[in-house]
């Protein structure tokens, strides 16, 4: 697969639309058109806000995942990690209420905890992968089980709920916004823009792509392969923490079913966006488009009336495949 696409990106080939680049965008536009056609409320402020805000969690995580995948890695643990972080955050905030009282103080501590725990979780993944040199798939499959178990255990099998008072103070972080734009959307946009800049404009982004392309070449070119790789996992961990900060005020709870399959969704978004699964090439804006495509599919399925809701998954599957058909790899030039 890597071979074919190599010959295909010869630029300035004429005025045809380069589907390899614009495929995801075309797919997204098609979905939007479909949604608008199926339901007149689709483009309403309310629905657009809903879709964008709920994309934020996966979106923030997927931006981090883009870096991990670009540098040739993978992280299956993010969904469980989010659940675990949410659990720890809620427990600590609840624990602090008696001493600190209800207010932003507690919430800020909670946010800090989320980021620190995310950092630590990413560090653990990253160290196991770079220092113990275990295949990323296995490490993160393992930590996925571990985080999931820990949250189940912390919640005693049930649900951890945030203290009611704190919740009321914290709620606006999900539901309110600035100038009519909800906070999760703002944060997602900020993360995405920053991610895009880091990927394209900084040595770090360049190094990620170099490592994913050819680790040896990177090594011989004075790239700190292990350090950069470790940093991608830490970055992802921190972003999972940020995603969790936006998630907790939404329902104010965490349980063993929080974040299930987020990892798959995040990875799918990254790849739909055009990042190469085997590493070497990544684009954050593509990931954002991928996330929106996935969210829209769910939204459209809910807005439209299908023969049977049992078939939602099938339609979802078909659309995912179709979305990528557009940017499929060209046949090798001969």
């Amino acid at each position: 697969m890597t071979v074919d696409s190599a010959t295909s990106t010869a630029p300035r080939q004429g005025f045809r639309i380069d589907f390899h680049i614009w495929g995801p965008v075309v797919a997204l536009l098609a979905l939007i058109a479909l949604g608008a056609f199926l339901n007149s409320n689709f483009l309403s402020y309310g629905n657009v806000t809903n879709v964008l805000a709920r994309s934020a969690f996966i979106g923030i995580i997927a931006v981090g995942m883009t870096f991990v995948i670009t540098s040739g890695g993978l992280d299956l643990s993010v969904g469980s990690m989010a659940a675990f972080i949410a659990g720890v955050m809620i427990m600590i905030m609840n624990g602090l209420v008696p001493s600190m009282g209800v207010g932003w103080g507690v919430i800020l501590v909670g946010m800090l905890v989320a980021i620190v725990v995310g950092f630590a979780a990413g560090l653990v993944n990253g160290l196991l992968i770079t220092q113990a040199r275990i295949e990323a798939f296995i490490v993160t499959l393992g930590t996925m089980g571990i985080f999931r178990s820990l949250i189940t255990w912390l919640a005693n099998g049930g649900t951890l709920s945030l203290d009611y008072g704190v919740r009321e103070v914290y709620r606006p972080v999900y539901y309110d916004g600035l100038l009519g734009v909800a906070w999760p959307i703002i944060v997602f946009a900020a993360v995405a823009i920053l991610g895009e800049i880091i990927m394209r404009k900084t040595p770090f982004g360049r190094h990620c792509a170099a490592i994913g392309s050819n680790e040896q070449v990177a090594l011989y070119s004075a790239v700190h392969v292990n350090r950069v790789r470790l940093m991608t996992y830490i970055l992802l961990g921190i972003l999972v923490g940020i995603a969790t900060i936006m998630y907790v005020p939404r329902l104010g709870s965490a349980s063993s079913s929080t974040g299930v399959l987020w990892e798959l969704e995040a990875i799918a978004a990254v790849i739909i966006g055009g990042t190469v699964l085997k590493g070497g090439f990544g684009r954050v804006w593509g990931t954002v488009v991928g996330v929106l495509i996935l969210s829209l599919i769910g939204n459209i399925l809910n807005l439209a009336n299908l023969v049977s809701p049992y078939l939602n998954g099938a339609i979802q599957g078909v659309i995912i495949i179709l979305a990528v058909v557009l940017q499929r790899q060209k046949k090798m030039e001969r």
């Binding site: 010869a10 080939q13 404009k201 360049r206 190094h207 392309s213 070449v217 070119s221």
Partner: protein
């Protein structure tokens, strides 16, 4: 020999054009290969040699023009079809699956079978036989990723020989071979020629061409400029036909610095089990050649020095002990290394020239954000300074011609502005015109006070350029030659271990 038989050519192309995107790289070329002849194709880097060879062997289709096999037009739908008709190409770039063993690679796609199953015994025996014939000592069971560059080339050759070719096309087979290995190859070529195989062959080593070719075709910028029988052209004439200007004095005069201080001092340096207790000094403004047979451990020694291999020993730079454990430590200490393994360790083939050029020296283009204007400027400078010929600036490096990749690698290394440059096989695959430019470049670099270590398997290069020569054998330094001592005889004697005993 020159009286060609009436028999149609074994393989012929007529008026072939080929474009990549909007750029045409072959402008209607003709070329005929006859059974039992060795035909050399020469030309500058990027002249289109590899492209025409790929077209002849079915790897690329011509945009227009025709290919004739035994006088009959053919269109090869795939390289497999060409191969089935006896047309085999040995690629300029290695075409081996790294994770597979030597034997697996040699028989890939052509496995010998007994019933449904692989006949491993027969394949191993046959592989061993082929390698033995090529005097290559690598085991058929070795993984390709573990063997040296020249062994890989021999495996490629063995792979081609196993295919029973009627037309054998070889794209710079000797670029990574030493003289001795090349001799082995030439004997095989003679043998095949006697059997009536038609052989097309490129090389930038013109002495080789003069020796083994029967006829010569010269390409310049995608067109054929000369066809001649070998006797009709001298090496100088060949060079001139290729480059379009006269080439005098390949090597610039040596300017040996007097009483320069030592910038690099290496003592009792060992790398794994491959290099043992190597010691040498490098002076400011000096070009220090490293000679030795393949496998002498020169590459490993340098890789140890720059911190990509585990090493032990003392290294001093400008009199201060340094400890280098990563490439960026080395870069910070002013030492950079240009690898001999262009494809595996040198360049990102699926990235553009710009990203490749600045990767090693990226810290010079802004800590926080990359200064892409600066990068573009650097690329412009590199393109003109190193005469890199690319269809456009955005081309993927993997699509550059081999020689131009090498130039880009050189530019990449120099961009780090090192005080000490270690160059491993600097002119591998580079045309004679550019070689001269590179030699001048190296000489100027030294003259400007930088110090250079040059590993080369080309004796002429070592002799023509080096101020002093370190000779290695089996991971040990067997001699350091200077002045008049730098001659082929002494170097070979040290490299073979004949002189070492006396010296010790």
């Amino acid at each position: 020999m020159s009286a060609l038989p009436d028999k149609p050519a074994a393989l012929e192309v007529k008026d072939v054009r080929r474009s990549f995107g909007p750029v045409e790289v072959l402008h209607g070329v003709d070329l005929a290969l006859h059974s039992g002849e060795v035909h050399a194709l020469i030309g500058e880097n990027g002249a289109g040699k590899s492209t025409i060879m790929k077209i002849m062997a079915g790897y690329l289709t011509p945009t227009s023009g025709e290919v004739l096999l035994n006088g009959k037009p053919v269109t090869f739908a795939s390289s497999e079809e060409a191969e089935n008709k006896g047309v085999i190409l040995i690629h300029q770039e290695f075409n081996l699956a790294e994770q597979l063993t030597v034997e697996e690679n040699i028989f890939l796609g052509r496995e010998l079978k007994r019933g449904f199953f692989l006949d491993k015994k027969a394949m191993r025996a046959e592989a061993a036989r082929l390698l033995n014939e090529l005097e290559t000592r690598v085991s058929p069971d070795a993984r390709v990723s573990d063997i040296s560059v020249s062994d890989k080339q021999m495996v490629e050759i063995a792979k081609a020989l196993s295919r029973n070719a009627r037309v054998l096309i070889m794209d710079e087979p000797t670029a990574v071979l030493t003289t001795r290995e090349a001799e082995v190859l030439f004997r095989q070529i003679e043998r095949l020629k006697a059997k009536g195989t038609a052989i097309l062959y490129t090389s930038h080593k013109l002495d080789e061409v003069a020796r083994i070719a029967d006829r010569i075709t010269v390409f310049r910028d995608g067109s054929r400029v000369v066809v001649a029988n070998t006797g009709e052209m001298t090496e100088d004439q060949m060079a001139q036909a290729m480059v379009g200007r006269e080439l005098s004095n390949l090597f610039p005069p040596k300017v040996i610095p007097a009483n320069a201080e030592t910038v690099l001092s290496v003592k009792d340096f060992s790398v794994g089990s491959i290099v043992t207790n190597a010691s040498f000094d490098l002076k400011r403004g000096e070009i220090l050649g490293f000679a030795g047979l393949v496998g002498a451990g020169r590459t490993e020694l340098m890789e140890g020095l720059i911190g990509v291999r585990q090493s032990a020993g003392q290294v001093e730079i400008n009199g201060n002990p340094v400890s280098i454990s990563t490439v960026s430590d080395a870069r910070r200490a002013g030492v950079v290394y240009l690898t001999e393994d262009r494809k595996g360790r040198g360049l990102l083939l699926r990235k553009s020239m710009r990203e490749n050029l600045t990767l090693l020296a990226l810290n010079r283009f802004g800590r926080l954000a990359i200064d892409s204007k600066g990068e573009d400027k650097a690329l412009g400078k590199a393109i003109s300074e190193f005469d890199i010929r690319a269809p456009n600036r955005a081309v993927l490096v993997g699509n550059l011609s081999g020689g131009n990749q090498q130039k880009l690698l050189l530019a990449k290394t120099m961009l780090a502005e090192p005080e000490i440059v270690i160059i491993d096989e600097p002119t591998r695959g580079i045309d004679i015109g550019t070689k001269q430019q590179i030699y001048n470049f190296i000489q100027n670099l030294a003259a400007s006070g930088k110090s250079i270590i040059m590993i080369s398997s080309e004796m002429a290069e070592v002799i023509g350029l080096s101020h002093r020569v370190v000779v290695m054998r089996s991971g040990r330094v067997t001699g350091v030659l200077s002045g008049d001592e730098i001659n082929e005889d002494l170097i070979v004697r040290h490299a073979m271990g004949l002189e070492g005993k006396v010296a010790a």
